[in-house]
């Protein structure tokens, strides 16, 4: 949160993060008025959702002015909630909409730093108003997403003027249970298709996806949201399961891992849902999950092979390069083979550009993975363990690497809580770290 405030201060200094003026009417509307008029609110949302670039970038500068011109304030609010779009926040504020503060506060939970910083700046610019708004709704503050609560605490701690009259005219915070009700859909969920208007009593796929997008921008973590995601992953409609799995990607470790693994490992599951589940798991810090993705990434005939390869090229520490050097993917066809080669090059380039500080940050996860395969007699043990120890050992001259190892080599604090398997793995990591530190550093780093 201190970063939020620092960022807001810097943005204020820089004058950055504020979207181009909305007064500039776009050269062309993103949709014909008669087409727009033929749709109801849900239909218009689907038009927005299916626009080539959705809400961001140059197209965003066309859609947001169009929504302003058409007075589509509810849609603009949805755009903020589902995308944290800074232009939409600005539009609501400039139009004096009573919803602008609650929408901007929601955007504080965005994982996209550009959006988050811009929202923070806009709120800080109206600190007396926002401070009063938080105070006015203190009783329901527990319903706010965690980043918003923390922001409110810092704003209150700063002290200063309050605009109570202005805050009284603003809309109340969202009730997330109501706002995100589509995270608990009925068993029947259908695509909106090319219809113009929603039918009463019908739940559409885009409504679930919108709620997932809103959850992603909120900053809500843990229960009950993980339970909702887990339930969506077991929904009878594959498109719902796929959407839920993909929504897990930016949540890193805050995911329903067991439900995702169930989808990934089910032979009866559709291939795209299995791949979506792998993507959803791909930032998990769990060594068992990471080892499983490496195995799938070395099996060209697995339905999620390209998903694994794609994400390993994003996040792997370099071991996959060795796996892929020996891998014959010809059985999967020339397209997959070419994809594998391209991803091997991309991963190689990323690892080659890595610096000592990057490796230092990765060492805890690298050693945890190595310890996992070692302790579970994993099929990768014979290659991954020596590769890990060699890679780290070759970088011992880097101060960041030694610092990371020294932290891992230290005795655990007595109050540390861990399951027996976690404790055993931590002990194995500790032994490896101590052994590595006992080695003389190589004169130059070789990776």
């Amino acid at each position: 949160v201190s970063r939020l405030f620092a960022s807001a201060a810097l943005l204020a200094l820089l004058g950055a993060g504020v979207a181009p003026s909305l007064a500039e009417e776009p050269a062309s509307a993103p949709v014909a008025d008669d087409v727009w008029d033929a749709h109801d609110g849900e239909g218009r949302w689907v038009l927005l959702r299916t626009a080539p670039d959705r809400f961001t970038g140059p197209l965003g500068s066309r859609w947001v002015p169009y929504l302003v011109r058409r007075g589509e304030w509810d849609l603009l609010e949805w755009v903020v909630l589902a995308t944290a779009n800074s232009q939409a926040i600005e539009a609501l504020e400039k139009a004096g909409r009573p919803t602008w503060v609650r929408a901007a506060v929601w955007a504080l939970g965005s994982r996209e730093s550009h959006a988050l910083d811009s929202a923070a700046l806009r709120l800080k610019t109206h600190a007396p108003l926002v401070r009063a708004w938080f105070a006015r709704h203190a009783k329901t503050q527990a319903q706010l997403p965690p980043p918003a609560r923390t922001f409110a605490e810092h704003l209150a701690a700063e002290g200063g003027a309050v605009d109570e009259a202005g805050a009284a005219a603003l809309a109340a915070p969202y009730n997330p249970v109501v706002l995100l009700a589509a995270l608990l859909p009925p068993r029947e969920v259908v695509p909106f298709g090319d219809r113009l208007r929603a039918q009463p009593g019908v739940t559409y796929l885009h409504q679930v996806e919108r709620a997932l997008d809103m959850l992603g921008e909120s900053g809500f973590v843990g229960s009950p949201w993980l339970d909702h995601l887990g339930a969506l992953l077991a929904h009878p409609v594959p498109a719902v399961r796929r959407a839920a799995a993909l929504a897990c990607v930016p949540r890193r470790g805050d995911i329903p891992a067991e439900a995702l693994l169930a989808r990934l490992e089910s032979p009866a599951e559709s291939a795209d849902v299995r791949s979506a589940a792998l993507l959803g798991l791909s930032l998990s810090p769990d060594p068992a999950v990471r080892a499983r993705i490496l195995v799938i990434g070395s099996d060209p005939l697995h339905p999620a092979f390209t998903a694994a390869v794609s994400r390993l090229a994003d996040v792997d520490d370099g071991f996959a390069i060795m796996l892929w050097n020996d891998l014959d993917a010809s059985a999967a066809g020339p397209t997959v083979q070419a994809f594998l080669q391209a991803e091997r090059r991309r991963l190689s380039a990323r690892i080659a550009a890595q610096k000592g500080d990057s490796l230092g940050q990765r060492i805890p996860d690298m050693l945890a993975l190595a310890a996992h395969v070692e302790m579970t007699a994993h099929p990768l043990e014979g290659r991954l363990l020596p590769w890990t120890l060699h890679t780290i050992g070759a970088a011992l001259a880097a101060p960041e690497v030694r610092a990371a190892l020294e932290t891992l080599a230290a005795d655990p604090p007595p109050e540390e809580r861990a399951t027996p398997s976690e404790a055993a793995r931590a002990e194995r990591v500790r032994l490896h770290a101590r052994a590595l530190l006992a080695k003389p550093p190589a004169p130059t780093r070789a990776r």
Binding site: D53, A271, S275, F339
Partner: protein, 218 residues
């Protein structure tokens, strides 16, 4: 890939990556003497330095890459600074569509800043202050991940309304001495480079972004 880059959009600072690896990667960009040699037919790279543009927080993500070169041709010496949303250290935006090595949001910010004329570059040296130019550089192909109905993942070039490009800054350095080059966004300094020209040689001594409290232009 030889490009590195700048500009993100959020609030950020620049962590400099003038690593030995980057310099080695630059290859021909190392300093070279110019005296006594016939003028080549194209600009000669006197020095090269690569850098990251990162979020202003510990463990920050690299949002873009920067590459600075001191060039010499026809008796003129200038600094060229390329900023790109593409680079092996650039992280993707959150979400499953993002592919490491390119950042769509950075690309959009660069495009918007260029289109709106919000970027400028200037140099302060022994001969005073002068302005340079900011313009569109190479075309960039920002990749995005797509999950096909058959379960395959493929990477496709993100579509933009306008071509997505790097941004390039160029500014004349004039004569020998120390030259401080500043890139400004919306009138505020976002990148600072210090170039030293002496004895026909050049060295980029510093290439950095500004911290959270030192971005005031003066």
């Amino acid at each position: 890939m030889t490009r590195s880059g700048l500009l993100g959009a959020s609030v950020v600072a620049f962590s400099i990556a003038a690593s030995a690896a980057a310099l080695a990667h630059a290859g021909a960009g190392e300093a070279q003497g110019a005296r006594g040699e016939a003028e080549p037919r194209e600009p000669r790279v006197l020095h090269h330095l690569a850098s990251d543009f990162v979020e202003d927080e510990p463990g920050a993500r690299v949002l873009a890459a920067l590459e600075a070169r001191v060039l010499h041709f026809g008796g003129r010496t200038w600094l060229r600074l390329d900023a790109s949303p593409i680079g092996p250290r650039v992280v993707a935006p959150p979400g499953y569509r993002g592919v490491a090595g390119s950042n769509r949001r950075t690309a959009e910010e660069i495009a918007a800043a260029l289109a709106d004329g919000r970027l400028e570059v200037r140099v302060r040296g022994p001969r005073g202050t002068a302005r340079g130019h900011a313009f569109a550089g190479d075309l960039s192909e920002v990749l995005e991940r797509r999950l096909l109905p058959d379960g395959r993942v493929e990477h496709v070039t993100a579509s933009f309304e306008a071509p997505c490009r790097d941004v390039r800054f160029e500014v004349d350095l004039g004569g020998e001495g120390t030259h401080d080059v500043e890139v400004l966004l919306d009138g505020r300094v976002r990148i600072r480079a210090t170039v030293r020209l002496a004895g026909g040689r050049a060295r980029i001594e510093r290439l950095e972004s500004l911290g959270a409290h030192d971005g005031d232009a003066s």
